[in-house]
């Protein structure tokens, strides 16, 4: 089952009305160049630009850019199996978790399944209503729980600025990077990360991180790390990197690394060189910092 590249899975969490669907609509229409499969509970609020729709039948909408949007039916994990078996396999799978659910229960499958890669949990936080929801006697614990498992927090409906009181509350629950959705020129770099490592060092291919709001770094080299050394290196990564992925050579065979926000996932892989890609926000980090961090370990 390991002939095909791993299918990365990103889970979108957040309460009803937080803006998950708006986020997915944005993702599907951006020029990310990836064949994404988006799974939603129902098409209810999905509002894909008619010009983008190539074909719609029953539970699947195919887009002209190669993306697919489908409903997952009642059995999420069966749908996950279907996505893995789909031919050709999508470049990336994005699942919209239902409003009250724990997105980690889905995302953990990407860490468990050898054929999947961890793409992280992005939780959409309603900038206006979240504090009230988080204090609700019935659902407050589950609302706070979503934030606790998030790898990236995306705040919606801020009207220009994340309220400081909200930012403080979220920071107390989570180490995940916090972003105002309105500030993001593109959501694909946040939700999907970069694409394959760039042939020329130091820059990212395609249009992924070309936007000045994002910083991209890539590296290719012969260096090897013991798994434990690699884990320590990743634990000491500079703040401001919100995605890091690639292959790392190690004495016991290569390792595939996926870092999203605070989460690090490492799986065995096959590779003949160490190749890494990182992405962050230009307002929080620069390429030199990332390069210096990696160079310090390689030295």
């Amino acid at each position: 089952m390991s002939v095909l590249p791993r299918l990365p899975l990103t889970v979108i969490g957040g309460y009803l009305g937080a803006g998950k669907t708006t986020l997915l609509n944005r993702l599907l229409s951006e020029p990310h160049g990836q064949k994404i499969m988006v799974m939603v509970n129902d098409f209810g609020a999905i509002n894909i630009d008619a010009a983008l729709i190539a074909q719609a039948d029953g539970d699947t909408i195919s887009l002209t850019n190669g993306c697919v949007c489908c409903t997952m039916g009642n059995d999420l994990f069966m749908a996950l199996g279907d996505a893995l078996d789909r031919c050709p396999r999508p470049d990336h799978l994005v699942i919209e978790a239902s409003g009250i659910s724990d997105p980690a229960k889905i995302a953990m499958a990407a860490r468990a399944e050898p054929d999947m890669a961890y793409g992280g949990i992005a939780v959409v936080v309603d900038g206006q209503n979240w504090p009230k929801l988080a204090d609700d006697p019935l659902i407050g614990a589950q609302m706070r729980g979503q934030v606790q498992v998030a790898d990236v927090l995306l705040v919606s409906k801020t009207g220009g600025m994340v309220p400081p009181s909200l930012a403080v509350r979220l920071a107390a629950l989570s180490r995940a990077p916090l972003m105002d959705l309105a500030d993001l020129p593109q959501v694909a770099p946040v939700l999907l990360g970069g694409v394959a490592p760039a042939p020329q060092p130091g820059a990212l291919p395609g249009g992924m991180a070309a936007h000045p709001a994002y910083v991209g770094w890539s590296h290719q080299g012969p260096e090897q790390f013991e798994r434990r050394t690699l884990e320590a290196l990743l634990a000491a990564r500079p703040a401001g990197i919100y995605r890091l992925k690639g292959h790392v050579l190690s004495p016991d065979g290569a390792l595939e690394v996926h870092v999203v926000g605070p989460t690090v996932d490492i799986k065995p892989a096959q590779s003949d060189s160490t190749r890494m890609v990182a992405i962050g926000l230009a307002s929080q980090i620069n390429r030199e910092t990332i390069a210096a961090w990696w160079a310090s370990a390689a030295a």
Binding site: L16, G44, G81, A107, A112, L138, Q142
Partner: protein, 542 residues
């Protein structure tokens, strides 16, 4: 004119107050023509007498208002549960009181499997084992080469052997929540929750979708029902796709198919308007043996999993209050939409906070869209007290109570979940009936075995596995319990005009019993033999 068959029985319990007992029932066109003595149908023309059931006791075919179709097809996997249990073919599988028996019985079972086929078991409940926890070391005694996975009865956990761990790539380096590791840093074989179980299930071909909707699954569900005396059964969270409808219609239409099937469409997470429209479209496609159009909503989790939403004072162990599987906002929106669209709802409620939210939602919806005949049904109702039952009576809400829990989990509830006081008043059929609520009782098969007479025994005796009586004040009479598993359940499915009693005009659906449940001691109710069923006048013997 279609022929008239008059069945003779030792006794017929009719559940019809106009003629509570009889010895003969006449059938024409699959329906009951007359009930009484040998000559009951003489005024209708020539009759044929059938004496094949003359030694048996007949009662109305039982109605199971909350079960799941996978109760049939689960049996393609090896049974590993604690209690003795009968499969669709009528074979009894020995209960496994300890790990040694699990290993011994599954080793025998493995002999019957082809070399390259994984061994998949189900039904194991470690809550009943003392001491050591099941691990890969035990399952490796069965085989080190054949992958083995044993699904626990709650479907949230499984235990696998080393060969299955290897297939999933789980080893000491795995760092995945739910892949349990021992002191040596290696996986123990226990996998918790779907994400951790998924890689094993995918590689071993454990397809739970295939346990419903396929022809074989529908057939074996019918067989399970027939052996339990059930002639009308729900599939209470049907995931049927439109494509599944044809096969459901085709299989249930066969004269050999012994059951009326009521699939109830699961709508958790769905868009309310879309789901309501789908339910309405399905309702128009039903037949006499396939009833469609109702929907199932989720709210909270389970009490024994500490995921039910319970009111103060919460769980005795201090566990955090449970989780919502549908948010209260979603529940209110779904309830309002379904009520307005005229779609009957079955709503899962285990904890008393969940039942309160559901009742509030229905009350609110009823103010906007009055519908006195809605007969929405709260399902499980485990912690509801007289106050909530009174509100159900006011609002015309039915309750289907999880009586089997008293025996299976009653001791655990008193000791570990909600504590003595509330355990004694759980699954309160007495309180429901006293409040004037239409009530049924259920098994939630395959969570507990399908068997309405056992379910009735639970409601009558309220005995737990340790032998104590849990809340004697909530015991009901045998007659009341029999009503709950026939007319009571039929009412919750809006089928009380067609099934649930033996009286002229209704479908000729009977349970064939070896003894009279009204005559045996109440303690023996569960032991009354079920010999088969009659469905639409056709005899199906176990």
């Amino acid at each position: 004119m279609a022929p008239i068959t008059v069945f003779q029985a030792r006794k017929i319990i009719t559940m019809d107050p106009n003629c509570p007992e009889a010895t003969h029932v006449a059938v024409r066109d699959g329906r009951i023509l007359a009930v009484g003595g040998a000559g009951c149908a003489d005024q209708w023309g020539d009759v044929v007498h059938d004496h094949s059931l003359a030694d048996a006791v007949l009662m109305p075919g039982m109605v199971e208002g909350h079960a799941h179709m996978m109760a049939g097809a689960m049996w393609k996997f090896a049974y590993a549960g604690f209690h003795d249990r009968m499969d669709p073919q009528g074979k009894w599988w020995r209960g496994k009181p300890d790990i040694a028996t699990v290993v011994c019985d599954l080793t025998d079972h493995a002999q019957s499997l082809p070399e390259d086929q994984p061994l998949i078991g189900w039904g194991l409940d470690p809550i009943f084992f003392t001491g050591e926890r099941l691990s890969r070391a035990h399952l490796d005694q069965i085989s080190t080469t054949r992958p083995i996975a044993i699904m626990f009865s709650n479907f949230h956990l499984m235990c696998v052997n080393s060969a299955a761990l290897a297939q999933a790539g789980y080893d000491h380096a795995t760092n995945v929540e739910g892949v349990v590791k021992g002191p040596d840093g290696a996986p123990t074989g226990e996998l918790q929750e779907m994400a951790a179980m998924f890689p094993v299930m995918r590689r071993l071909g454990m397809d739970f979708r295939g346990l419903s909707q396929t022809e074989a699954a529908i057939e074996s569900y019918g067989a399970v029902c027939m052996r339990a005396g059930v002639t009308t059964v729900t599939d209470l969270y049907s995931q049927m796709e439109d494509a599944d409808l044809a096969i459901l219609r085709q299989v249930t239409a066969r004269a050999s198919y012994p059951t009326r099937l009521v699939p109830v469409l699961g709508v958790a997470g769905a868009d309310p308007e879309t789901a309501a429209a789908r339910a309405q479209a399905l309702a128009r496609q039903g037949t006499d043996k396939l009833r469609l159009g109702a929907v199932k909503l989720m709210t909270d989790g389970s009490i024994q999993g500490w995921t039910a939403r319970v009111k103060w004072p919460g769980y005795v162990g201090g566990q955090p209050n449970g989780i919502w599987n549908m948010a209260p906002d979603e529940i209110r929106r779904m309830v309002a939409t379904m009520q307005a669209a005229g779609v009957q709802m079955h709503i899962h409620v285990n904890g008393d906070e969940a039942s309160e939210v559901a009742i509030d939602a229905i009350e609110q919806a009823a103010r906007h869209s009055p519908w006195p005949g809605a007969r929405h049904v709260l399902q499980h109702c485990q912690m509801m007290g007289p106050d909530q039952f009174a509100r159900c009576a006011e609002l015309g809400i039915c309750t289907n109570i999880f009586a089997n829990h008293i025996w299976y989990f009653g001791d655990q509830h008193a000791a570990l979940t909600i504590g003595e006081d509330r355990a004694k008043r759980m699954d309160a059929l007495r309180a429901a009936l006293d409040a004037g609520v239409h009530a049924a009782i259920h098994s939630d098969a395959p969570v507990t075995p399908l068997g309405p007479l056992f379910t009735a025994w639970c409601a009558v005796n309220r005995q737990t596995m340790s032998g104590r009586v849990l809340g004697a004040a909530q015991c009901v009479s045998v007659a009341e319990a029999l009503h709950a598993i026939t007319l009571g359940a039929a009412y919750t499915l809006k089928m009380d005009g067609e099934v649930g009693s033996i009286e002229a005009g209704k479908f000729a659906d009977f349970a064939i019993l070896g003894e009279d449940p009204l005559a045996v001691p109440a303690q023996a109710l569960k032991d009354v033999p079920v010999l088969g069923t009659v469905l639409a006048g056709q005899v199906h013997l176990a």
